[in-house]
Amino acid sequence: MNFVLPEIDLGAIAPQLWLTATAILVLMVQAFVPLVTSRSLALLSIIGSLLSLVATLGLWGQEAVLFSGMIALDTFSLFFNVVFLLGAILTVLISVEYLEREQIAHGEYFALVLFATVGMMIMAAGVDLIAIFIGLEILSLSLYVLAGFMRQVLRSNESAMKYFLLGAFATGFFLYGIALLYGATGSTNLDRIFLIAGERGGWGNVLVMGGMGLLLVGFGFKVASVPFHMWTPDVYEGAPTPISAFMSTAAKAGAFAAFVRVFLYSLPGLAASWAPLLAGMAVLSMVVGTLLALVQRRNIKRLLAYSSIVHVGYLLLGLLSGGTEGGASVLFYLLAYTFMQVGAFAVVVYLGGQGEDDLSLARFSGVAVRHPVAALAFSLFLLSLAGIPPTAGFVGKFYIFSAAIQAGHIGLAVVGVLTSVVSLYYYLGVIVFMYMRDPVDLPERRPSAALVTALALAVAGTVEMGLFPGSLLDLAQQSVASLLGS
């Protein structure tokens, strides 16, 4: 029997390797260097992420399919690498202070964040369902642990339990979908599935349709779109705040990367079948998410969780529009969303106070008096999430809705615009509390340098992408064009 050794090109996966090596190094340093502080471990993680970023930029422009058709090196995956690394760096920066305050400053935390990022990168680069599945599981397993990282806190335990059970349940659907697609096409390679899935009829088509539907359920769970969203508010509320930020930005971007690759690249021939389903998910996410966010007063993290469901609706709308325009609008929006969402969570970390017993909107009363800069930054992020110009959120939404209109989804675009108008109500509600109520007693604290850096980065990104979106949009379009070959 002939055994052909696959061609191994480690240079092409250098970003993943740098991160993996750093994560293992963090674990080792934590285990063998006595009295190492969590700050130095955080610094080490950031250096590793920056090295990975440099490796990503060094690979820019190259195109190849490697490791026996498992991993693709293309601008699409590299663009997503930048989004993931940005999310990871911001998360580590806002974690430092939080971990010390909650007394959970263990090195495993940073290692798990890095491992999760590696999983996302594999998901974004995978051109075989095996690779996508492995990436998804590396990401999910790390996040299950991170969600329950505060072992002594009941909410955190409960959050991990709910996330694990529903995540594993979704994985089951995802895998059964893959199995059916494999049965219909005889391959798990996205290129082969693209070739065969479109032309099969009869029995084969039942398998393809079933497989596609189950994949949609699996992805729906992972990106938290209605009607698969039930876990989102509970998990985001109970998890450590920086991890909520990480899950709602980078992890979601990872799931969307695979979502875009599988549906726009591999299954466009079945668009007539999946488009109505996706349209339903998009409308439900936008409407239900908005309604639930409107009545949420008890906890700002829950409010941000519901608003993240609305944003998933917008992203699904971009995905549904398809083509270079639709795909590029998704990529652009994910990058913009990373800045503004992590920024918003950074302010929550700053103002939360130990234990975060009370995160109701009332706690933010009069914050503008005591912490004017934090209040200003928070207002900027919230306005950007609502889509007010000149912020990143406005430009991102503008591209998504114009892509939807070009693709003929005018009714959906109208729903999108209406929900974002309504969303102003609950975002402005927070701002009203900060600026127009009498101040409550908040502990006087100075933010750590890391938190200030994260806030500055997020503000800069939100404003920069709002004022000068041109070059980044071009990049997003090139990335999707490299994927769709147009």
Binding site: L129, I130, F133, I134, E137, L141, Y144, V145, G148, R151, Q152, L154, R155, N157, E158, S159, A160, M161, K162, F164, L165, A168, F169, T171, G172, L175, Y176, I178, A179, L180, Y182, G183, G186, S187, T188, P233, D234, E237, G238, Q296, R298, R302
Partner: protein, 103 residues
């Protein structure tokens, strides 16, 4: 000599196990039983993949099922750890009683 078992038997077995697992996840209230139901779903996928692998005449499906077994082991490790932590703090594994967070 015995007649060969037709492919459809394996597929039906896989589908039935998957449905039993899914129904178990949705109806059972004990966290450990839910965990077992999820394992059932994953193994149903394995059976389906191996049957298809035989039908298609290539080994991809079997390789995939090995990956699934490995990942399921990792998932069980993490899942049981979460179960233990939760049981230590709450003294219950009934998911109806694990409801600190609502609305």
């Amino acid at each position: 000599m015995s007649a060969e078992v037709p492919l459809s038997y394996y597929l039906i077995l896989g589908a039935l196990l998957f449905i039993i697992g899914a129904v178990g996840v949705l109806t059972r209230r004990h966290a450990l039983v839910i965990l077992m139901s999820i394992e059932l779903m994953l193994n149903a996928v394995n059976i389906t993949l191996v049957a298809f692998s035989r039908m298609q005449g290539n080994l991809t499906g079997q390789v995939f099922s090995l990956f699934i077994i490995a990942v399921a082991a990792a998932e069980a490790a993490v899942g049981l750890a979460i179960v233990i932590v939760l049981f230590n703090s709450r003294e219950t594994l009934n998911i109806d009683e694990i409801n600190l967070m609502k609305w």
